[in-house]
Structures are given as C-alpha cells and as structure tokens.
C-alpha cells in the first residue's frame, strides 16, 4: 500500500487554478448560465482573455474574420469549449510533464488529454443523449491523477502492479487499487476537488475507467473520450488499435454501435487541427 496521507497532501499541494477559470467551470456546470456572464468573467482576467482569443483565432476555430473580442470568442466557440480551453491553459504546465512511471515522455500526457478533449468535442454529433458541459473538462483532465501517482510509484510498486495484471489478469486500474489502495482516477478526483471544479467533473475523472460505478452519464462520456483518445493516438501512429470498449457504455450513449468507428475516424481527422487551438492557449 502507498502512503495515502502523503498522496492526499501532495494532491492538496498542487498549484491552485486561477479564480476566473474555477468560476468559468462552475458557471458552465449551471444549466442557466448565459454567455454574457461568461464573457464578463473572462474579460476581467487579461491573461486569460489573451489566451482565449489566441485559441479562438487558431486554425481550428478561425474564420476569414479574426475574433477580436471576448463576446465573439464566446459565441464562436461556445461555453463548453471556452471553459475547456481555460482549464487547458491552467493545467498545461503540469500536463506537459514527463511521468516515467507510466511510460509517458514530456508532452505525452498533454497530447493524450487534448485527444480526449477533441473526442469530447466530436461526440455530440454521434450520441443519442446530450453531452453535459462538464464532459469537456473531465475529458481533458481525466488522467491528471497520474501526475501525483507517478511521483510515488517505486520500482517495486510497478513490479507488483505488472504482476497483478499478468497473474490475475487485472486491469491497470484494478491492479493499482489492489496494490496501492488507490487508483489514478481517484487521485485525479482529489486534485479536481482541490481545484474547486464542479462535482460532475470530479465524478467523470474518478470513474473514467469504471463508468458504471459512477452512476452519472458524465462518467460514461469521459470513459468514451478516453477510449476514443487512445484510438486517435493509435490511428495517428500506426493505424487503429483494438477497441475493447464497454458495450454497456456504447448502448447507453450511442444510437448504434457502428457509430463508434465513425466517431473515431472523424475525431482522428480533427485532432491535428483542434489541437492547434489547445496548443495556442
């Protein structure tokens, strides 16, 4: 077992999110939130305004006419995308770090996070149910727990986890829970709570590998975004990988299982372009 008290301490020691980003995430979770209020919160934060305008004018978002005001950015991108961009901007320094314990080079976690955000952006066209706004942020931050977990995993822990997977055929998540008493989803949830992100974002992060236990559609969507992100990365590198996705989740979200393949193809096609927007903030 890992030292849970120290893990919790480390999660709570992460640099806080800017107040304007937290406020935006909370506003986006409110079904009554209006675009004028969102624009007002952004406008009060000059650094955020500049970043979001850069994002809104990136190749993925720009039209012939450049976006010059926050109001235009909000109406062009929509609240959910803007909030995801603001969150991306706040979390990027951390998400770009290398995490050797998980085999992640510098920038690898960031790319995977952006791929999940791109998947989340693509999902509304394929899902039979509305994608809640919290999904965009949860998708982007779903693996944030690896940042802390990666610092604590000793070579012995990694060996025990590998053996639990090999000998008892456990998933990475189950193996972490058995050996460490906590898994990276739970740790990510703690970090999101520390950042004051809305409860459904926290739920989506905690249950991104075991969505049925989360009893919230946000968990299903975050799970799907993670799985599609893996396909995006595999597709870019060497063709589509094996898609071992829960049929329970696809039945809950998609109008037909065949849509999954189309979703992956379109998300893969959009990845390069949309990631420019995230890389611009």
């Amino acid at each position: 077992m890992i030292d849970l008290d120290r893990l919790i301490e480390q999660a709570n020691a992460m640099a806080p999110f800017p107040a304007s980003t937290v406020r935006l995430a909370q506003m986006a979770a409110d079904p009554d939130c209006n675009l004028t209020d969102v624009a007002e919160v952004i406008a009060y934060d000059q650094a955020l305004t500049l970043k979001l305008l850069r994002g809104a004018n990136s190749a993925a978002s720009a039209s012939a006419t450049p976006v010059t005001s926050v109001q235009e950015a909000v109406s062009r991108l929509g609240t959910s995308r803007l909030v995801a961009l603001a969150v991306a901007s706040a979390a990027r320094p951390q998400l770009c770090q290398q995490i050797p314990a998980y085999g992640l080079d510098e920038g690898a976690l960031w790319r995977h996070s952006v791929a999940a955000a791109v998947a989340a952006e693509t999902m509304p066209n394929f899902c039979g149910t509305t994608v809640p706004s919290e999904v965009f942020t949860a998708a982007l931050l779903h693996d944030v727990g690896k940042l802390i977990m990666g610092r604590f995993l000793s070579p012995d822990d990694l060996r025990f986890i590998a053996e639990a997977r090999d000998v008892d055929h456990l998933s990475q998540l189950e193996a972490e829970a058995l050996i460490l008493g906590v898994h990276h989803g739970e740790l990510g949830g703690l970090i999101a709570q520390h950042w004051d992100l809305p409860p459904r974002v926290v739920q989506g992060i905690i249950y991104h590998h075991n969505p049925t236990e989360g009893h919230d559609v946000v968990c299903d969507f975050t799970y799907l975004a993670n799985e599609v992100a893996k396909q995006i990365e595999a597709g870019i590198e060497e063709g589509r990988g094996d898609f071992a996705i829960s049929s329970e989740v696809t039945a809950r979200l998609l109008t037909s299982p065949a849509q999954l393949d189309t979703l992956c193809t379109i998300a893969t096609g959009r990845f390069a372009e949309v990631s420019l927007r995230y890389n611009a903030v």
Partner: protein
Amino acid sequence: MNTADFDFVRKYIREAAAIVLEPGKEYLVESRLQTLAREEKIATVDELVAKMRLNPQGDLARKVVDAMTTNETSFFRDLHPFEALKKTLLPELLKRRAGDRQLSFWCGAASTGQETFSVLMTIAEHFPELLGWNLSYLATDLCSKALARCTNGRFSQLEVNRGLPAQLMVKYFTRQGAEWEFRPELRKRVDFREMNLVRDWHRMPPLDIVFLRNVLIYFDVETKKAILAKVRKVLRPGGYLLLGGAETTFNLDDAFERVVLEKTTCYRVKNES
C-alpha cells in the same frame, strides 16, 4: 520473496483466517508485507518473516494477518443491494416485525465501516421510524485496526469520494480537519466487535439481515460451507443473507434459496415465506 517465506506466510494465514493464497500470489503477499515492514521499521520483508517465525503468536504475526485480510471497501458498494434493501427487504421486514418492533442486522466483514454506515444511512433516509424500534446492529471484522476506524467513524476525502453521494455526505458527515466524521448518534447504535468467522460465533443474536459480502471468495469450499451453515442457524425466519456479486450458496448449502430482486440476489432459508 522466496518460496519458503511465501509458503510459511500462506500456511499461517490459512490457519489463522482460513484465507487461501494460491501460488502466484507472491506479489500480493510481498506488497502487503513490504508496507507493514515500512510501518514497523523493519528493513526487508525477509527480515519481517524471520521475526514472525520466531514468535508466531506475537503482535507482528497478528499484524501480518491484518495486512493480508484488509480489502477494498466503499460506501454503497455495488449499489444494487442497497436498492434491494430500500425497495424490498426493509419494507417486508417492517411489516413482518411490526409486532415486536425488533430488527437485527449483522455485517460480518465490516472492514473500516463503509458498508455498515451505508445501511444506517439507508435506514435513516427511508425508514426513520425504524430508529425508534429496538434496532440492533452488529459489525464485526477480523482486523482490530479496521474496527478501531469503524468506532472512530472518520474517513478521508478519498474514502468519502468512493460511492458516497454528496447530499448524504453533507447530511450525515461533519468535516473534522481533513477528515469527515459519520454522525455519532447513528454510529453509537452499532456494536463493533472483533470476530474471526472461522472460529466460534459467540453471543451471536438472532438476525434479520446478514451482510457477508465479498468475504466467502477468500475461503476454501469446506470453510464456505461451515460459515453458511452457521449463518442459517442465526437467521430469524424470513431473514435474508446478502453475499457479494461473485458469491453464491449454490452447491455449498442447498438449504438456502435465491431471491432475485432486480439487479441483485439475496438468499433466505427455504420453506419460509
């Protein structure tokens, strides 16, 4: 971990707690004992096992059993058994026991208390009248350290994130520094006791609902049979046994019958209504 040490530990655990550790589980034993060695300021697992061999009845050996029997738990684990409790079992027992206004519960693998407190919250939320009955709640576990945490009723943020709905957290827990404390007036209704399921069941009252979830999986067939036979003896007529999702009485004790309630299965003694 070397084979001789692994064989010694697994034989010891089998005798002390009837838990079966098959070959291949060396990684699990080593990982748990490594944590214990760190806590006890013992340099290596080899050294820890050597100390244990010198004094097999000592405190360290006891801690080894605790380390090997502590397992995952969460609030409202699997959710469906609690739905069954709310929708079927408690309404049925409420009618059946209306005469003597007496209900008794037992959680046989209480661990750090999440299952017990989930049952209490279900009662308080949906059947508050039961709190005025003669309600007895027994929660037992083999691990004294886990039981101490039950009595204390405090949970970290990580633990309350596991399955506890936010509205129940706010209603039944109060923040104490970095921890969350379960309401003392409900906690005090529980009789927490140390108990080894494979030893004698002293002072076990007649029971209406028995939670024995995710514990039989660790035992061999004979031990499972012996435990189920003992459960049968303490269940009151019309009482229910709840097991884990991967557990059953089938082929172990045919005196039980399955009662399927939506997405969960309960067991009761046959020929009873």
